[in-house]
């Protein structure tokens, strides 16, 4: 009987440890990028609804382009600060066949659409209603941005508000490749 009680206790502890490890954000992508191993962008073929209607799109539909993938929400203040930067980067990237791709997360579509209008964003944003697309990038905070090269590999990650230097890197990549 004591053996059974110990086994049961061990199972409960194992469950707690499993829960803690699976609930914390995955940083595998960051480690690979730091080692210059450049992982393929996860869930690239997953179709998400386009914000404001217009069907569904996936990251793989932009294959061959340099993409700045930006996770954002209308309630996130740093997202509001970086929105003009991203819009400027969009016009620079467009010249070299690149683009910014926004993905909203934990945000009502009406609020997201108001945000797009307020900041005059011209790039496409997708809606990740379940949050599973964002989680596959280890995203649990906003904003977070990923530079994806023409081969569909992540070459730079910013977990937090982006700056000009980060976007210049993306534009330089689009220019050089």
């Amino acid at each position: 009987m004591p053996a059974l009680a110990c086994l049961f206790g061990a199972c409960v502890v194992a469950l707690l440890v499993y829960g803690l490890t699976t609930q914390s954000p995955d940083r595998t992508l960051d480690e690979l990028v730091a080692r210059r191993q450049y992982p393929l962008a996860p869930n690239a073929t997953r179709k998400l609804p386009v914000l404001g209607g217009g069907g569904q799109r996936s990251l793989s539909s932009l294959e061959g382009k340099v993409v700045v993938l930006n996770f954002w929400a209308s309630w996130c203040e740093p997202c509001q600060l970086e929105a003009p930067l991203l819009e400027r980067a969009q016009s620079r990237l467009e010249r070299y066949g690149g683009t910014v791709l926004g993905v909203t997360y934990l945000d009502a579509s009406t609020d997201s659409e108001s945000f797009v209008r307020k900041y005059h964003l011209t790039y496409t944003s997708l809606r990740d209603a379940t949050g599973s697309f964002a989680h596959s990038y280890g995203t649990d905070q906003l904003p977070e941005s990923f530079v994806i090269n023409r081969q569909g590999r992540i070459v730079a990650i910013s977990r937090g508000e982006i700056d000009e230097a980060f976007l210049n890197h993306a534009v330089a990549l689009a220019e050089s490749s």
């Binding site: 009987m1 059974l4 009680a5 049961f8 409960v12 469950l15 499993y18 829960g19 699976t22 609930q23 929400a73 309630w75 996130c76 203040e77 740093p78 997360y105 934990l106 945000d107 009502a108 579509s109 009406t110 609020d111 990740d128 209603a129 379940t130 949050g131 649990d140 905070q141 906003l142 937090g160």
Partner: protein, 164 residues
């Protein structure tokens, strides 16, 4: 989520807008002649403020007010509880629901208490025969310790016979 540094003015403005929406929406609902099938407090108890990660009914933030205004809008359209919750999940994702989902690791929330209760019942069932046996043995020992030896029984009989 990264803690937003809202200025007091922005927060107050957002609260005012949400409050105005809450006041204005029931009026428009009455004008539209839609009978509400639920109330804001009922829904608030069942959902979370997605940015503050606390139940909406206790959350005080601009985003919580926006969520309340959104829910009130759905109530005013005549939606029921289940429909509103489906709509909220479609907008904010499954984390908006206060109750954990019945999939993946969240299932443990329901299964672990059940397993604990079953383990306790199994333990009691396993120990019960032993407890009963011990109780019987103790009772038997007590009875035997109280029984008289033949000599004492004879003496008691003779004593009692003297009173006859």
């Amino acid at each position: 989520m990264r803690a937003p540094r809202k200025s007091l003015a922005t927060a107050a403005a957002a609260a005012l807008i949400a409050a105005a929406a809450l006041i204005a929406l029931p009026a428009s609902q009455a004008a539209a002649g839609v009978t509400p099938r639920t109330t804001l407090p009922i829904i608030q108890r069942q959902v979370m403020c997605v940015t503050c990660k606390i139940p909406l009914e206790v959350a005080e933030s601009p985003q919580a007010n926006l969520e309340r205004a959104y829910i009130q809008g759905l109530i005013n359209q005549g939606m029921g509880e289940a429909e509103i919750k489906r709509n909220l999940v479609a907008q904010y994702g499954p984390t908006v629901l206060a109750m954990p989902s019945t999939h993946g690791f969240d299932l443990a929330v329901y299964l672990v208490p059940l397993a604990v209760v079953l383990a306790l019942i199994a333990t009691v069932l396993a120990l019960l025969p032993g407890w009963r046996r011990h109780a019987r043995e103790r009772a038997a020992a007590l009875t035997s310790s109280r029984s008289l030896s033949p000599a004492d029984a004879d003496r008691l009989d003779s004593d009692l016979a003297r009173f006859d």
